[in-house]
């Protein structure tokens, strides 16, 4: 390996001056065209509306005032918020417990467990939903079949009261393993000295987990939480596919994304759909930052 001299350092800046742009420009071009531009275009479209007489006219913030008073949209937002509050804690708890257990060295078959729990992440949400939909279903779902044979009527997961938990179960199944891997990766980087210090103090595996490991994976846990916020609020594939099995339970405004989709493609209200998409993005970013703010404040205390 070549050693560097101190002389090279000040020269670097001038010599490599604008080379940085060489590397970032390709990304920025695509970012501009396929990220910022659609966003700006949606913002632009959302300021217009279609009228029966006179075609598309400038409407100012009409679409937004309509959205804020739109009970279907608010219902959808509240539903995904409830979904987030129900599903995410359960999922992250499973992920955390699994990651801690596998990392602890206390379980057998750690490698098989790690891969097996992660595998559902590689299953497309469409396939996961079709699968769980059939499993839930009254026709040949094992649950209903067992009920038939044993002579009791199994609860129907596709009913109005159980739909949200049923969807939550699908999402948990899909992503618990992914979150577990992130947390496990974080656990692996905790310096061994800390464990040794804890062992010297007489801490068992449970106390080590609680006082050392969980605080150590806090940033990773926060990352998982951020992804889960995004995932919950943009819920689409699962309700969209389950809708066919339970059309009376899942309506066209079940989640904000299902609603935006039906606005744009069923009722052809393009401008309003753009406004709804825009607002949804805004809500997600806002919720993310509020959660980030609250959790980081908690950490400093």
């Amino acid at each position: 390996m070549t050693t560097t001299t101190a002389v090279a350092a000040p020269r670097r800046r001038s010599r490599t001056g604008n080379s940085g742009y060489l590397f970032i420009v390709p990304f920025l071009v695509f970012f501009l065209l396929f990220f910022l531009l659609p966003l700006a275009y949606a913002g632009y479209l959302s300021l217009f509306k279609d009228q029966l007489v006179g075609g598309t006219v400038f409407a100012g913030l009409d679409n937004y005032t309509r959205a804020l008073g739109d009970e279907q949209l608010l219902g959808g937002v509240l539903r995904v918020a409830l979904f987030f509050l129900l599903q995410v804690p359960v999922m992250l708890l499973i992920s955390l417990v699994a990651a801690l257990a596998i990392d602890s060295g206390l379980v057998r078959f750690a490698r098989v467990l790690r891969l097996g729990i992660f595998i559902p992440y590689a299953v497309p949400s469409v396939v996961a939903t079709l699968m769980w939909g059939y499993l839930y279903g009254p026709d040949f779902g094992p649950l209903a079949q067992l009920g038939d044979r044993l002579g009791f009527s199994a609860p129907n997961p596709l009913s109005d009261t159980l739909m949200l938990p049923a969807l939550g179960n699908i999402v948990t199944w899909e992503f618990a393993g992914y979150n577990m891997i992130i947390l496990y990766a974080a656990l692996r980087t905790v310096p061994v000295e800390r464990y040794e210090a804890a062992a010297v103090d007489g801490a068992g595996p449970w106390r080590t987990a609680w006082y050392i490991k969980i605080p150590a994976v806090r940033p990773a846990l926060l990352l998982c939480l951020m992804f889960s916020i995004i995932g919950s609020f943009q819920l689409f594939a699962e309700p969209n596919l389950i809708q066919r099995l339970a059309p009376n339970v899942i309506n066209s405004a079940y989640t904000p994304n299902v609603y935006a989709y039906s606005l744009a493609f069923t009722s052809q209200e393009v401008n309003y759909a753009a406004a709804v998409s825009f607002l949804l993005g805004l809500v997600i970013v806002a919720v993310s930052y509020v959660v980030l703010f609250l959790t980081s404040r908690g950490a400093r205390r």
Binding site: M1, T2, T4, T16, G20, L22, P26, F27, F30, F31, F34, F35, L37, P38, L39, L45, A98, A101, I102, G105, L106, V107, L113, I117, I119, A122, V123, P124, S125, V126, V127, L130, M131, Y134, F140, G177, I182, A186, R188, T189, A220, L222, M226, I229, I230, F233, Q234, F236, A237, R244, L245, N257, A260, Y261, A264, F265, A274, S277, G281, I284
Partner: protein, 284 residues
Amino acid sequence: MTRNRRSNLLTVGMLALLVYFLFPLFWLTVAATKTTGDLFSTFGLWFGHDFALFTNIRETFTREDGQYARWMLNTLGYAVVSSAGAASLATFAGYGFARYTFRGRSALLGLVLGTIMVPTTALAIPTYLLFAKVSLVNTPWAIILPSLVSPFGLFLMWVYARDAVSDSVLEAARIDGAGELAIFFRVTLRSLTPGFVTVLLFTLVATWNNYFLPLIMLNDPRYYPVTVGLSSWSAQAVGGSGANADLLACVVTGSLLSVLPLVAAFLLLQRYWQSGLSAGAVKE
């Protein structure tokens, strides 16, 4: 050492958890071996009267002029092109942001990282409307182009490049007179590989599994990825009678087959993505 003490209780609990995560896939595998009749008449978690797996596979691939094979190839094409492109752009840019100083660096980086929280589906309808203006809808580009931008991939590579590449190695290469691009490809790229493979694999999964974007963008079944194709088949199969009576077996078999490539990719590339993830997950 605590490493040698095993807890049977914990092992049993974890195995129960494993059963929860694997039994739907077990069900799918079993169901793919059944005729549509057996699907309805025999117990879901065990094999039926006839072993129809190979009949089902043949039926899945030959149905409607082999459109399932086409969907799988489409998915493969979209996923490979998108993920290779996205990972390359993110690696380039991540390295550029991490290893060079230039005017506007922190502003640009802040702009990109600030959009990590913007959900892709909130962009999908606006992108559709934009693409409709320039006649890009209902083409493969409508799926590939939006998938090339991964702000999170950039974040991951930026973190990765900060730690994995040492300044002294770069300086040495510069003193030897190597150009910046030559340095990147000959010196840096190797140490960025785990990060690159991680971003590659995760954008691959994102595109492979994407449903909302292709559902919006495409209405010609020839361009469908397998997710949208399976969804359209399952919609026809819900009726479950007449001409579509045996479609259900194809939906189930097609679902199973569509899962296999990604599962195989994850198992084969474990070494890479597990080390790559630890870099992104830990340092925030």
